[in-house]
């Protein structure tokens, strides 16, 4: 950890954030070029590259970067190892690069397909480094606060997702895979998605939002029995769905009903979470909402849309084949990416403030965190990003490559604009005028003496 007067910052978190944004931009550029889904088939090599740039390069690296800053705050102790944080990032990025080469080998690039499981192994090693580092940081923290319990469960699903991914890579790379591995490749994608999106991403997003939203909106952080019930419903539902799903893959469909029951329990947990966040917004004491909280509200509206879509497809024959992938896009872009970008818009200025102004606190006027950003300038770009997510999902539903490329262009332009705002927050030096914040004047002080 970098020790600065008045602050303890995770040294490598800015590097995680920069790498994450670069991966998102690269994935969006591929979609704008028409090489990747939704402008190209979902399982085309460049689509697989874009999907993994978003899921590993963007969302996973973003979340791990945030957790390296956020878990030490919860545990009230420094991160266990700065070096391990850097090693994890290096392994993930190197592994992702090898995976990308491996995916392109499937499309005819003259490199060994074995790069796929090798890269996946490096990514898994990076995830395990990060999970171990974060878990060790939390050691002895008792009782573990609700947000941290979500994150601990999420880290378990992260390892499971990566392990399954390596299995897929091996099945691609091995000339004659054993029957169980071939069955996993043919039918195991749902398990990979369930552990990755339902386990790792959803549990982390829920846990982190339970810490950040009450903190920024002056709302009650303690969520009581409802919060604990949501945790158990989500984790229990996922474990049931995943185990029963694995049995269904390996034992010719047996366990299918239990898997569906598990998914329903998980969805019930997420629905209760949305209800609880609605309560949290209503209970907030800070009436004016900042851009990160507004963005969070919109991202959760996307989550509600995804949940409604998942319920609807159960009742419409043949709908699942048409809208499953668009719903996935809505979850990855509308819910998780919008939520992530919105929270970055708060976390980056906060870290920048701690680096630059914490040493000056108490020695004279300093700017506020919100003085480092211009919400009016950034707000339209978040709206454009949300519009881009909707456009991509709609284009994927109707199968329009042209509309998909326009949607991806909206995402790309808005991401670049938001990235520029984040860079400004790290560089600009606003004047420290804070109306109403410093009612004490020298005259008032003298009048007391």
């Amino acid at each position: 950890m970098t020790s600065i007067i008045g602050a303890t910052l995770s040294r490598w978190t800015p590097a995680y954030f920069a790498a994450a944004l670069a991966a998102l931009v690269a994935a969006e550029a591929l979609a704008v070029a028409g090489l990747a889904y939704p402008a190209a088939p979902l399982l085309a090599p460049w689509s697989l590259v874009a999907v993994h740039l978003v899921t590993i390069g963007w969302l996973s690296v973003l979340m791990l970067g945030a957790l390296h800053q956020f878990l030490p705050v919860i545990a009230a102790r420094p991160l266990a190892s700065d070096r391990l944080a850097l090693a994890a990032l290096g392994l993930i990025e190197a592994g992702l690069a090898a995976m990308i080469a491996g995916f392109l080998a499937l499309g005819g690039l003259g490199v060994p397909v074995a790069l796929l499981p090798l890269g996946g192994s490096a990514v898994l090693a990076g995830f395990l480094c990060a999970a171990g580092n974060l878990g060790w940081t939390l050691r002895g923290t008792s009782p573990l606060p609700l947000p941290a319990r979500f994150v601990v469960a999420a880290l378990g699903f992260l390892a499971l997702t990566a392990l399954l991914g390596i299995g897929f890579g091996c099945a691609f790379a091995v000339p004659a895979p054993p029957d169980w591995l071939a069955a996993l490749l043919a039918q195991g994608l749902a398990l990979h998605l369930l552990a990755g999106i339902g386990g790792w991403f959803a549990l982390t997003a829920v846990g982190v939002s339970y810490k950040l939203l009450p903190m920024f909106m002056l709302a009650e952080e303690e969520r009581g029995r409802l919060g604990t019930s949501i945790l158990w419903l989500m984790v229990g539902g996922l474990v049931l769905a995943w185990c029963a799903g694995l049995i269904a893959v390996l034992a010719d469909g047996r366990g299918h009903l239990a898997a569906e029951a598990g998914e329903a329990i998980f969805a019930a947990g997420l629905t209760l979470y949305l209800w609880d966040i609605r309560l949290l917004f209503r209970q907030r004491l800070r009436r004016g909402l900042e851009l990160n909280s507004i963005t969070a509200a919109f991202s959760l509206a996307f989550l509600a849309l995804v949940l409604a879509g998942l319920v609807a497809v159960r009742f419409v024959r043949g709908a699942e084949a048409v809208v499953a992938a668009p719903l996935l896009l809505l979850a990855l872009l509308g819910w998780l990416s919008l939520l992530g970008l919105g929270q970055l818009y708060k976390i980056v200025p906060f870290m920048s403030w701690l680096e630059r102004y914490a040493p000056r606190l108490g020695r004279g006027p300093v700017p506020r965190v919100q003085d480092l950003v211009s919400e009016g300038r950034a707000r339209p770009w978040f709206a454009v990003f949300a519009l881009g997510a909707l456009a991509c999902a709609a284009a994927a539903t109707i199968g329009s490559a042209g509309a998909a490329r326009i949607g991806a262009a909206l995402l790309l332009v808005s991401t670049l604009a938001i990235a520029r705002e984040l860079m400004r927050a790290r560089r600009e030096s606003p004047s420290p005028a804070v109306p109403g914040a410093f009612p004490a004047t020298l005259q008032q002080r003298r009048s007391l003496r």
Binding site: M215, L361, G436
Partner: protein, 103 residues
Amino acid sequence: MSAPTAEEVMLALREVIDPELGYNIVDLGLIYDVAIDERGGAAIVMTTTTPGCPATTALQEGARECASLVPGIGGVDVQMVWSPLWTPARMSAEAKEHFGVPP
């Protein structure tokens, strides 16, 4: 020089802001107690808006720095506590009005 009063230290502490809320820590109700001993040493008991606030050390050091600049102060000890937990009810009337918190 006579020892400063607790009120003078409190007034000085109003120059320290919570960076996220952008308001001074005294009117936010983050200062629980200020006591001055016979040698002019100040003992400040304070909190943050939430346990585990990333700005905890910054606020503690900022309060220490600010109080130590009060003329006649003999030394400053700043203790961070989270019991009782801070609630917006601790804000001054002005701060409540600023944030739209009901009185």
